[in-house]
């Protein structure tokens, strides 16, 4: 038996197909991942993401500590509630994890990290914090519920009434307190939506209130096709400890200025950037029947280097295969994927593929 979130019994009652995910029993789907996917694109879906790692960083040294720990710069978080997406790098510039950091108050931050990286991330942060004026504490008694889709705001207002009134004007990548909940306008689907961090004891009531508004429970399977359509990276697929942000379409998350800020991995990244010649992450589109899969090899005319698909799937919104792939950066518009020994021509595009329910690549 794996670890269970506070919503485990709720998932079973909803008829979830449960699956092991990095040691957790999580819902894969509740009948059809395609229906759940469509529901998020057209209305709203509900995800239990309580398995994600939550770490609070407090203390007078918290800001300086995070400015060294993270490749993006928490100095950009100038108001309480503001949030930032960042990579956390090793000295080689490899991505130990990607995360969202929330500024809760002066000297007080919250990191939400991946679940699958938990065993390596916690020791890393703790080691980096030693001797600093910070307290690092993992939060294990909470739940995280994501409500995602064009109807997410209306559902939140319907479920929580007056308390949800401030949500309408909540900017993307910012958060507010609703009593002892932290509600952020963030997500992993390419749609509008909210992520609610709340005490475990309140999780089931929150879930029910949203279901009562017509929000449909959606599992990890739909979460994966949604994030891939949205061109969002998944750690251990698009990047890992041997892959830098430059090779994972994450250059936009690197805060180079000021150049006096020495975040971990900076030196290695500067060298790589100088040297060039590395593979970069691109989108692939195949409109003929078939499905692109992680691990399939990709060749582009004009380069002897071989690329590889990092994530591939059938796109429910577009009705054909899409993939993220690390390929030679020579501006190719076409590539050939080896599908079980057969060459399949594909187009090379710039992700994302879908945003707000619509095709967005060219």
């Amino acid at each position: 038996m794996g670890r269970r979130t506070p919503l485990y019994d709720t998932h079973i009652r909803h008829g979830a197909r449960m699956v092991d995910f990095a040691g957790w029993d999580m819902p894969l789907h509740y009948g059809s991942q395609l229906i759940e996917h469509r529901c998020v694109r057209e209305q709203a879906g509900l995800f239990d993401v309580s398995h994600m790692t939550t770490v609070d960083v407090n203390g007078s040294g918290a800001r300086d500590f995070l400015r060294r720990l993270l490749a993006n710069d928490v100095a950009r978080l100038t108001t309480p509630g503001a949030a930032l997406y960042s990579a956390m790098l090793n000295e080689k510039g490899g991505v130990i994890d990607d995360l969202i950091v929330y500024a809760l108050a002066d000297d007080s931050y919250r990191l939400v990290l991946n679940c699958a990286t938990h065993e390596r991330v916690l020791p890393w942060i703790t080691r980096q914090a030693s001797g600093q004026r910070v307290k690092v504490r993992e939060q294990t008694d909470g739940a995280i519920i994501a409500v995602q889709g064009p109807a997410a705001l209306v559902a939140m207002q319907g479920a929580f009434g007056e308390a949800a009134a401030p949500l309408a004007s909540l900017a993307s990548f910012s958060s507010i307190r609703m009593d002892d909940w932290l509600v952020a306008r963030t997500g992993y689907t390419g749609e509008d939506g909210f992520e609610i961090m709340l005490p475990a004891a309140a999780a089931e009531d929150c879930w029910r209130a949203l279901v009562a508004q017509g929000v449909r429970p959606a599992g990890l399977a739909a979460r994966d096709t949604l994030r891939l359509e949205a061109g969002l990276n998944l750690h251990s697929h698009e990047m890992d400890e041997d892959v830098t942000p430059l090779e994972a379409n994450m250059a936009w998350t690197l805060a180079w200025d000021p150049d006096t800020r020495h975040f971990i991995g900076r030196t290695a990244l500067e060298e790589l950037r100088q040297r060039g010649g590395y593979l970069t992450l691109a989108g692939l589109v195949m409109t003929k029947p078939g499905v692109l899969r992680a691990g399939q090899l990709v060749r582009v005319a004009g380069s002897p280097k071989v690329g590889v698909i990092t994530s591939g799937t059938y796109s429910p919104t577009l009705g054909h295969a899409i993939a993220l792939a690390r390929i030679p950066d020579i501006g190719a518009r076409e590539a050939v994927v080896d599908i079980r020994g057969r060459p399949a021509p594909v187009r090379v595009v710039r992700p994302p593929f879908v945003r707000h329910g619509k095709k967005v690549y060219n």
């Binding site: 059809s32 991942q33 395609l34 078939g290 499905v291």
Partner: protein
Amino acid sequence: MVDTPKELGYRETHEWVRNEGDGTVTVGITDYAQDSLGDIVYVELPELGDELDLGQEAGVVESVKAASDVFAPLTGTVIAINEALEDTPEIINASPYGDGWFYRLRIADPAELDDLLDAQAYLEVVEEEQDSDA
């Protein structure tokens, strides 16, 4: 739970076989197979006239989640394929033993019919797989 009609024969690789009694059989994938794969979005079938050997790869089923090979459950010649699967592969999820059939074979060796699994034996295969997954 898992639907395994008694009148069909099965292979451990999750194909079912219906003996039509005229030297031909109809072939598909089982309810357990479609349920494990989840939403099916693409099927590669053999071609009309293909000569298949027992156990030979005879197509691919792709769900959103994964790709899975389909093997010939008997030796024979492909005499019909279910063309509806090309545009509406989801009928395999809805009706694995009915509208979601894959192809028909004229069998070369009727003796091979004898070593198909019956429903009970196939269910044991499924239960073993489920135990090893758990």
